[in-house]
């Protein structure tokens, strides 16, 4: 689904990502760990094509197509969707309207989705205006559920969210990725997940979100270098035990090779 090759990204004259190689196959969810400032958000913004993130080497391939220089909206229409950590307020634009913008083929029942996300009361507020942490996440997920992207990029979905909301958010992510185990099971579960095609990259520095969603793989970004790729829970165990200290060692080993 997504392939990143030897990616180097410069922001404001500073190298933020160095020789990043990554592959997310169809149907898989990967977790991207890394301490604050390691470049996780920058990687996501680069995949989506935001200005200011200058790719000076390497390429990004999505669904077999080189998208490195593609405009943001074309990437979105091709099937990439993002949940932002700090999305901007757009005054006068109601959240409902932006959800409708996401719903390109007009197939979403916005009211129904909003109910699921406990968002009904916020539909007619200006998007992101004075939203709490949890409200921002629910708004972003609501937009993604309307957009139905094939590759979902989630930036710190659990940050700034209270415990009650996090369950709801976990459920929403699972249903977005066809990984839910909660939904009414009229069909055999095996059948529901067999058609699973949605991929995801979930950014987290704490790893708490793993208590609510399942993942196929974990990767660690440290100081702009992807220094570890293995079972996500295993990585989380290490981080919970030792923090990111161990990653310093690995990234130092890789550094001279780049």
């Amino acid at each position: 689904m997504l392939q990143i090759e030897e990616l180097k990204v410069v922001v404001g004259g500073k190298t933020i990502l160095n020789n990043v190689n990554m592959e997310i196959p169809k149907g898989e969810t990967h977790i991207l760990f890394g301490p604050n400032g390691s470049g996780k958000t920058s990687l996501m913004m680069t995949i989506m094509g935001f200005s200011g993130y200058n790719v000076t080497r390497g390429k990004i391939i999505f669904k077999g197509e080189d998208i490195t220089d593609m405009p943001i909206n074309e990437r979105a229409l091709l099937g990439i969707g993002v949940s932002f950590q700090r999305p901007p307020t757009i005054s006068g634009l109601k959240t409902r309207e932006i959800v409708e913008i996401c719903d390109v083929d007009r197939s979403t029942n916005v009211e129904e989705l909003a109910k699921q996300l406990n968002f009904t009361d916020l539909l007619y507020r200006d998007v992101n205006h004075n939203f709490s942490g949890g409200e921002i996440k629910r708004s972003e997920l609501l937009q993604l559920m309307a957009q139905q992207p094939d590759l979902v990029l989630l930036d710190e979905p659990e940050s700034g969210v209270d415990l009650e909301s996090i369950v709801l958010i976990g459920d929403a992510i699972n249903s977005l990725l066809n990984r839910g185990v909660r939904c009414p099971q009229e069909r055999p579960h095996k059948e529901i997940i067999s058609g699973r095609t949605k991929s995801a990259l979930v950014i987290t520095h704490t790893g708490h979100i793993l208590d609510y969603i399942t993942a196929d793989r974990g990767q660690v970004l440290y100081n702009g270098i992807l220094c570890c790729s293995r079972n996500a829970r295993e990585i989380l165990k290490w981080i919970r035990e030792y923090g990111y200290e161990e990653c310093v060692r690995c990234s130092n080993e890789i550094m001279p090779l780049i």
Binding site: N73, R75, L77, V82, I90, G92, L93, I101, Q147
Partner: protein
């Protein structure tokens, strides 16, 4: 593009002060279709279903005028002067004819204007609509308007101003004096659609008594030659409230110098001024002046401006406190559209132009209190069209 300092002067001699009389029409449906279309665009409801009364003036002639609710008076100012001897206590009490040459001309060569009044305790079921219309090329229309909301009444007025489609130049001078008595509420919405070379000089003062509320909405989206106005509201009684909103678009060749002053003279009074302006080739000077005269008042001014393509956008917020114990604040922001907002919308699938127009529409989409649903829809459409013209 006009800069602030060379806002052009108007030579009154360039304008004609007389026009032919237009016949009175008994029914709004009899208004000539070319005129009717212009009236519709500034919010006049020809069917009058959702209107409590109507006043329409073309050049110097009142061509239609009626009330449909007991306790609500709608008439021309000359009729009102005949009917109410006391009206002299209300006319020229707030604005001196010597203020400037426009007020002087309005005094010397008056061309009607409206008188709208809600009697004590009467609440208008629907807005009263008024329209001041210029059809004669080069005419200077000088009107004097009075609106009175008597004690505990509630009066809604929607007033549209427009010119005939073929008109090129003209001048509109409007003296308006508004009175909001104890416990009364006046909601005043004004929509302007003047011609590209028409100059407009409204001169407005409002007096608000104890517990009174004045809400004023001003909308000017279409091209205008020059517009200069600075209505002043005095909150004289305890707990009086004023809320002023304006939505302005200055396209190429348009010069808008628009603001409001609210003077808070009594304890517990509140004032709010909100303005949104887009300069798209033209110039906007958005002023706001809040004056706190006593302790225990609260006032806020919010002025946001965008420049699309090119233009001049100047925000001049002023706060003056004469005593301690006032709570006054302002927020002004002028600039171009934030790239983050554009890219956020692009990440949801809109192309760049689509993203910009969505942001512009939102920017102009201020919630306007007291606007009938049909007019709100019309306004949304007008915003969309204006926004298309700007792109």
């Amino acid at each position: 593009m006009l800069k602030r300092d060379n806002a052009f002067d108007i030579n009154l001699e360039d304008y004609k002060v007389d026009a032919k009389d237009h016949a009175y029409v008994e029914k709004l449906s009899q208004i000539e279709s070319t005129d009717a279309k212009q009236l519709l665009d500034v919010g006049v409801d020809i069917d009058e279903n959702a209107r409590t009364g109507t006043f329409i003036q073309k050049d110097k002639s009142v061509i239609h005028c009626k009330t449909r609710q007991d306790g609500v008076e709608v008439m021309s100012i000359s009729q009102a002067q005949e009917k109410h001897e006391w009206l002299s206590d209300y006319m020229w009490k707030n604005i001196s004819p010597d203020t400037d040459k426009f007020t002087f001309q309005a005094r010397e060569i008056p061309h009607e204007g409206y008188f709208i009044r809600a009697l004590p305790g009467v609440k208008t079921k629907h807005p009263v609509q008024s329209c001041l219309y210029i059809a004669k090329e080069g005419f200077s229309q000088n009107v004097h308007n009075i609106a009175i909301a008597e004690e505990d009444s509630e009066l809604h007025i929607i007033t549209g101003c427009a010119t005939a489609p073929h008109m090129v130049t003209g001048l509109h001078v409007g003296i308006s004096e508004f009175y909001v008595k104890k416990g009364a509420k006046l909601v005043f919405t004004m929509i302007h659609d003047w011609g590209e070379k028409v100059n407009v000089r409204p001169r407005t003062v409002a007096q608000v008594e104890e517990g009174g509320v004045i809400i004023s909405n001003y909308i000017s989206l279409r091209p205008v030659g020059s517009l200069q106005m600075f209505p002043t509201t005095h909150l004289n009684g305890k707990g009086a409230v004023a809320r002023f909103q304006s939505i302005l678009v200055a396209s190429r060749g348009s010069f808008l110098d628009v603001g409001s002053r609210i003077v808070l003279n009594a304890p517990g009074t509140r004032a709010e001024i909100i303005s949104r302006g887009i300069a798209s080739g033209g110039s906007i000077i958005a002023r706001g002046d809040l004056v706190g005269k006593v302790a225990g008042i609260k006032a806020h001014l919010e002025c946001k401006g965008l420049i699309l393509n090119d233009g001049l956008m100047q925000a001049i917020p002023e706060l003056t406190a004469h005593v301690p114990g006032v709570e006054m604040s302002h927020e002004a922001a002028v600039g171009k559209i934030d790239q983050h907002e554009i890219e956020y919308l692009m990440a949801r699938g809109l192309d760049e132009d689509g993203a910009i127009s969505t942001i512009v529409r939102g920017f102009l989409n201020v919630d306007i209190e007291g606007l009938p649903a049909s007019l709100k829809k019309k306004l949304d459409r007008a915003v969309s069209e204006t926004q298309k013209d700007m792109m």
